[in-house]
């Protein structure tokens, strides 16, 4: 059954049309991949879905009720959480305090054990009194994920969770994504540049280009479709900078 769906999302920022008529559905425990060149509007779509950007056209529905007007924190309470592309953590706190703040963000507070579970789930390996400012990218991402997961979300929006990481670090994050959907039944909407990863974990992939969905479906069919290949790979050197298709 459909968990999160959005229909006909349009978004204008600073006089530019960022998204136009974007619709998507995510079912329970499903991993949906979102790919597309830079500036295609992937992150903007996340801003709309998560409620950070409320001035948009179209509707967002979670569990059958419209959350079109709800601010971000209300959506978090309903079980829709997101991460950011930049590895942000509060600058003035320690790791332990950050987790405590996440636990006490709103009532009812989850048990302390849940926090420990979440920290273990993402395999955090940092002392609790370490200031968050000194953390590296991987640990920052893990801390963010732990804070999101201790509230038992139904759907997680991950914005390039592996950006800025290398080799084995990426594997750790990938592992979290897989475990989330396969073992805990959490739906994941994933922005990702590595198509080979999407091919393995996602059951459905959407490719955005200049605010439009240009392809949608199972990864095998999407990645072999000519439009996607044109947008992503087979490009003449003097490509149009806007990311428009230049099929010569």
């Amino acid at each position: 059954m459909t968990l999160l769906s959005c229909t006909d999302i349009t978004l204008d920022l600073g006089g530019r049309r960022i998204l136009e008529g974007v619709s998507l559905d995510v079912s329970k425990a499903e991993v949906v991949g979102l790919a597309g060149p830079n500036g295609a509007g992937k992150t903007s779509l996340f801003e709309v879905l998560s409620g950070r950007q409320l001035n948009h056209g179209g509707d967002v529905v979670l569990n059958g009720t419209s959350i079109r007007k709800l601010p971000m924190r209300k959506r978090v309470e309903l079980g829709l959480v997101r991460s950011y592309q930049r590895p942000i953590v509060p600058a003035a706190l320690t790791v332990g305090e950050t987790l405590k703040a996440a636990r006490k963000a709103y009532k009812p507070f989850p048990a302390r054990l849940t926090v420990e579970w979440a920290a273990e789930f993402v395999r955090m390996r940092t002392p609790l009194d370490a200031p968050t400012a000194s953390l590296e990218t991987l640990e920052r991402r893990k801390l963010m994920l732990a804070c999101l997961l201790l509230r038992d979300p139904q759907i997680v929006l991950l914005d390039e969770p592996a950006s800025g990481l290398t080799g084995s670090e990426i594997d750790e994050i990938d592992l979290v994504v897989r475990k989330l959907s396969q073992e805990y039944g959490v739906a994941v909407l994933l922005i990702e540049h590595r198509l080979e990863l999407l091919a393995m974990v996602a059951s459905k992939v959407l490719v955005l280009d200049v605010g439009h969905i240009i392809a949608e479906g199972p990864p095998e069919t999407v990645f072999t479709s000519p439009e996607v290949r044109a947008a992503y790979f087979d490009v003449p050197i003097n490509a149009d900078l806007e990311g428009n298709l230049v099929i010569s």
């Binding site: 600073g14 006089g15 530019r16 060149p37 830079n38 500036g39 295609a40 950006s163 800025g164 290398t166 080799g167 540049h193 590595r194 080979e196 947008a231 992503y232 790979f233 490009v235 050197i237 003097n238 490509a239 149009d240 900078l241 806007e242 990311g243």
Partner: protein, 240 residues
């Protein structure tokens, strides 16, 4: 005489030491690729040359003049002087001027009197390198897309009368096809007797296009790049 000679360069930010006693010589007319993974000191090396690191030590000789030395604070205080002596930098994250038009952005790169007087000609030559900018001259730089911003940033560096061009991560954050176009354009520019250093994480982008390729690992320069990184599958470092 070499155009740039670094000896015993160490640099870092606060307690972090990012560069470890590295030496590097750049000859006139050379196009140099600097490859390595994230966090191994490529950006710091370029920042050190123009004095934008937290602290630094070691000698940097640019055209026979010492611009380095020991410095522990005052980030960027010497940068304008160094830049004016003939080093142009297109930094990571662009650092363009969002409220100015593209034309003004480019013009601001012409900071020596000679290049300021000939700014029209220089602007035209930048546009021949990056044709899409021609249509956008009047537009405010804040409304540009990522690829266009990067072009403005690199184009601004090209506007100056510099001997040494430093380009930091031309592909970062750009879709593969856009970064390919950008790097190709960079590698076609005629640098004459000057030199250019391109720092890049994505090795295949530079392969075969630059005169010399240096690998950076953990703050040291490893010369044998082909061997160290050549077999990494292209997708691993390609899309950050």
């Amino acid at each position: 005489m070499s155009i740039l000679k670094l000896t015993g360069i160490s640099a870092g930010y606060g307690p972090m030491r990012v560069l470890h006693d590295l030496d590097l010589t750049v000859e006139p007319g050379e196009r140099l690729g600097l490859v390595g993974l994230n966090g191994h000191g490529k950006t710091t090396l370029l920042s050190t040359i123009v004095g934008l690191t937290g602290w630094q030590d070691g000698s940097i000789i640019f055209e026979g003049k010492e611009i380095g030395g020991r410095r522990t604070h005052g980030v960027g205080r010497k940068t304008p002087g160094i830049v004016r002596s003939g080093i142009a930098l297109a930094p990571q994250g662009d650092a363009i001027f969002p409220g100015l038009s593209v034309k003004d952005n480019l013009d601001s790169g012409a900071y020596t009197s000679a290049s300021w007087r000939s700014r029209k000609r220089r602007r035209d030559s930048v546009i021949t390198v990056f044709p899409p900018l021609g249509k956008l001259l009047k537009q405010s730089a804040g409304t540009l897309s990522g690829g266009e911003r990067r072009m403005v940033s690199v184009g601004r560096a090209l506007m100056s009368d510099s001997k040494l061009y430093l380009v930091d991560e031309p592909s970062l954050g750009l879709a593969p096809k856009i970064s390919m176009g950008l790097v190709a354009a960079l590698c076609e520019i005629d640098i004459g007797e000057g030199a250019m250093i391109i720092a890049e994480q994505n090795l295949p982008l530079l392969e075969g296009r630059v005169d010399r390729m240096l690998g950076m690992h953990a703050g040291e320069i490893k010369l044998d790049v082909g061997e160290a990184l050549g077999d990494v599958p292209p997708s691993a470092g390609g899309m950050h």
